[in-house]
Symmetry: C2
Subunit: 148 residues, 2 copies
């Protein structure tokens, strides 16, 4: 069965994407745990809360990260127990809850970011030429905005 080269190359790209994602996220997670006792998903939460100015409603946090609302409830549970975030009732909506960075959370983020950003550069971005990164980013945006 003959398969055109162009199709094979595209399929390779997909398969390789899966491998890259798997290998890099595992390594980065392990690295963050070893250096800071921080899970990669907790790190993502810290980043998003910080980017939003320190706090987000639970559903906004779910949108900003790649987690479901259920996940957010439980991740915030654990992070609250660890002292990295606190819950605050939303005064403007009786149903709502904010997840807010604590100072320990901010500090943890500042420390872990050094490790993690270096890790991304070392393992990924630093290995891409400017043109490759641009090509990739453009293609990924197309993939994400094509929804059918």
């Amino acid at each position: 069965m003959k398969v055109p080269v162009i199709v094979r190359q595209a399929m390779d790209a997909w398969r390789l994407l899966l491998e890259v994602h798997h290998e890099l996220t595992h390594e980065m997670d392990r690295e963050l745990r070893e250096a800071h006792g921080l899970r990669l998903d907790w790190y993502d939460v810290l980043v998003q809360l910080n980017a939003a100015g320190g706090r987000l409603r639970m559903h906004e946090l779910a949108d900003a990260t790649l987690f479901s609302r259920t996940d957010c409830t439980r991740i915030v549970d654990r992070m609250e127990r660890a002292g990295l975030v606190v819950r605050e009732r939303a005064t403007e909506d009786g149903r709502g809850v904010y997840a807010a960075l604590t100072s320990a959370g901010s500090r943890m983020l500042r420390e872990a970011a050094v490790t993690h950003v270096r890790s991304i550069e070392q393992r990924f971005t630093g290995l891409l030429s400017e043109a490759e990164a641009a090509t990739m980013a453009a293609a990924f945006r197309r993939v994400l905005t094509t929804d059918d």
Copy 2:
């Protein structure tokens, strides 16, 4: 704090890769379940067993897929219960076990492959130009083979 455009673009590429992976794997998994009652990880196992001629030692299966040995033990447990694979003792090594495709497993693979390949083309490979796919594949190979 000023960040060079080149770095930002590369970081975007990483972030977008995470989003693409998340969205596409979820959609493909859902699609396979709806159409065939098959999980994406089971599909991967079927593909690898088939590519290897029908059977693989457990540790070879772990290497061929993105799963750990523990995962393979348990995935094969469930797939065996579902009749898609069977375990066979390895005669050449008393510790060894083969996971082998059943005819139901082969049939399931043939059916599901139609759905899944179309899905990949629709959501990913079909949205990439030949040049983009080649660039991406080359860059990903570089990332995977650079282990420091």
